[in-house]
Subunit: 178 residues, 6 copies
């Protein structure tokens, strides 16, 4: 068996958006297989992290099919935070097939993998102002167009789970602190 | 044995105040028994969470007696945070007798219990501006009248544990970061 | 407010049985109030620990009412394990009203509280061979008489939650290790 | 989007063997999609749990391809233990797409999912004496034939990571307790 | 064996600076031995907590030698946070030799040890504006003189681990939220 | 600064005995500095792990002084378990100065460090039958001679903390399961 050249792409994917899909397509031109790590897998139901890992897995999986990306070349792995940075690379290695390159625009991720000897690549993102989870979550709250920034799969899952209501309800101020 | 109709009231109760007692009295007109969940039970000695769960249990217990509320109809249960929202309803179910209705003004609590199929009721609070833990903790720090906003039991426990000193000391700035 | 003389009785109470009730009655002759700690509150659905903390709270609460014990003199507090023995006394102090005496027949509990300066009392248990959780769980599995060893409240809760089925199912061997 | 009928198969898969593949094939005749949960994902390097979750993901993924199973119909999800049984079903729901049926031969898994209202199915395993992780790990230690009990993918991964050496070394007695 | 009079000095030491060394020297005039607790030992690779516990142990150890402080009179102990304030004093007692006095300028540390009956002393720090970890980390980021505020040992370790690069890289904004 | 050649010796040290001291002396002939890791630092008050990390630090520290070993060449570091083997090497690296060689007779430690690329050396222990923590704890329970197997420092600390009583009390059977 020839060893595969695998790359890791890691992000919170709250939610999966077109920027992720672009990076995955580009990365697949450089590696044999891509591991898509769903970060902070234990978080959900917060304004900054509204969706569960399972919901994000489903978005990503359906988006890959929608985009005609070969599933034989991808892994989707939820990754829980370990809350001690020095151990986080090992936490990723624990749940992931082996990989050599790491694709991330996050400086903490870059520092941690670099110090452990990995090659770290910062993907150039297209249209970076609008293609961010922060922007999309803001638009959902504001009833602005967010649907054009994400794969159809993301729209469908968010509808199926009443994700817009969830985010709006989480944004309500408490009547009074009990 | 006829199944009891139980309601859950959950809050951090930092400290127990007159608003809690009002809600408990009203809720007891709708349910057979009320479970009073002391939330974030693992927190204490912080400005926003000064009292231990044990101190809050004591305040609540003595306040119920002081108000002549029938102890046969109440449970007081400390509930630790689990720090993964999707699991929190199960964490509450783990330590509590079974219940059908949830009384809470907190939007996260409302979302989490609604998604698990519970009936969620937002209690109308009397005098909501002053009857909040935030307001009471602020008044303690400022040496303003806080005693009139809480049951006598709360005043007595805070005195017994030197709670005013604790809060004021926690508010001191560090001399210098060591 | 005169400081109360409180005693702590702590056990896993899997399930609540007549021995617990006897010890509570005796202890209440020595102290003003008794704190009943439901230990290993995070455990359930194991042969040695079949019942959740909430189920055990319910058994104890109903048994106290059944026995005519004054609820004004009792606290029922679920206590999670902390898995570092040196911290366990503080974990108990965190969720409990203050107490001076500890009633326990468990040698680890005795050592830990003694080393922290508490007075520790080993209750003399009546009929100690049959009055143990181990014995009762064994009888449930074997379809032998267990009902006479526990309060009516325990029988009722175990019926309500299909506790006998739960224990018997947990005892089944796996078809094959998957 | 029509809601998919999904089934969950969960096991520790230490290692992936022919029994798993048979169950997956059969299950796919009953459901639209199968979620393959890699249980106790945090464990590795123990005699009973020698392989990391990442290694087990890789075995399963390659075995599915080897067997010609449609990846569009499968999810492979590592699932960490939560160590409080009452919360474990929620832990699985957190990281998994939604599902209706659970396939498991493990009695604890059966009890936990049944109590939460899931349909639980115990798969009839072929040749259950030899097709178990326990048997395979024993044969690896004994230098007996284990290769015929697992997919070629499992053999390849175990070779690539020197898994046989790992298991044999873990079996060595300590020279002396330091 | 005569019982030693020991004092505990506790701080995050991010990084070890001249203020720590001054306090250690002064404290050693009052006690037989000093326990130097490296707090928040599990944190690293954050702007406020850039260095691992191991790196901080090394800085402190080499600084003590550099300053000619008798190692026979000091202990250096990394101490992980326990994230429940009521248990933190026990967490410190667990990993440390016994001590009677606590030296700290942090108000939470002062409250927690006072409530457990310890004598707490707030060290008067020399030149407190500049001698703080916050100031030193800011100067590192700004390329201002920080070297004069710390022992030579701290400079050497930070160089050896490329600590300046680490801090600057952690300060970079993410290209875009993935 | 010339980089030091450091070795790690890791063990539970329940309690510190003559075998540890022998290995330390031998190891110091091969390395510049030795890091003595006190393993399972969170455990205490169990028959297999009776002493706290702080008590073990004290034993080791005083034994080194007693034996005239140069403190300038040693580090004593308590190391908590992380309960996920794949992360344990990183957990050790987090709290320890950097090292190149690992001295251990424990096969799990050997496997974990080898897989991460460390050189692992199994120290030949003198008189391995009697020089083990297991043997010493057994002799303490049996009132047999254990004092000759440990440094004087260990005897003194165990006396100071009433360690013999602790072990004997932990060995008592519970009167009855409460």
């Amino acid at each position: 068996m020839k060893r595969k050249n695998r790359g890791l792409l890691i992000g919170r994917m709250q939610p999966v958006h077109n920027g992720h899909i672009e990076v995955i397509k580009e990365t697949l031109e450089e590696v044999d297989e891509i591991i898509i790590g769903i970060g902070s897998a234990q978080l959900s139901h917060e304004l900054k992290d509204p969706f569960t890992a399972g919901e994000r897995v489903l978005m990503m999986r359906n988006a890959l099919i929608e985009e005609g990306i070969d599933l034989n070349k991808t892994y989707i792995i939820p990754i829980e935070d370990i809350n001690r940075n020095k151990l986080w690379v090992s936490q990723v290695e624990m749940v992931s097939p082996p990989f050599k390159k790491v694709y991330s625009g996050n400086s903490l991720v870059q520092v941690l993998f670099s110090e452990e000897g990995y090659e770290v690549i910062a993907p150039e993102l297209f249209d970076r102002k609008v293609l961010s989870g922060t922007e999309i979550r803001k638009r959902i709250l504001m009833d602005e167009d967010w649907q054009s920034l994400v794969p159809k799969a993301t729209v469908e899952i968010i509808e199926e789970i009443n994700g817009v209501d969830r985010i709006k309800h989480l944004n309500k101020k408490e009547i009074s602190e009990l």
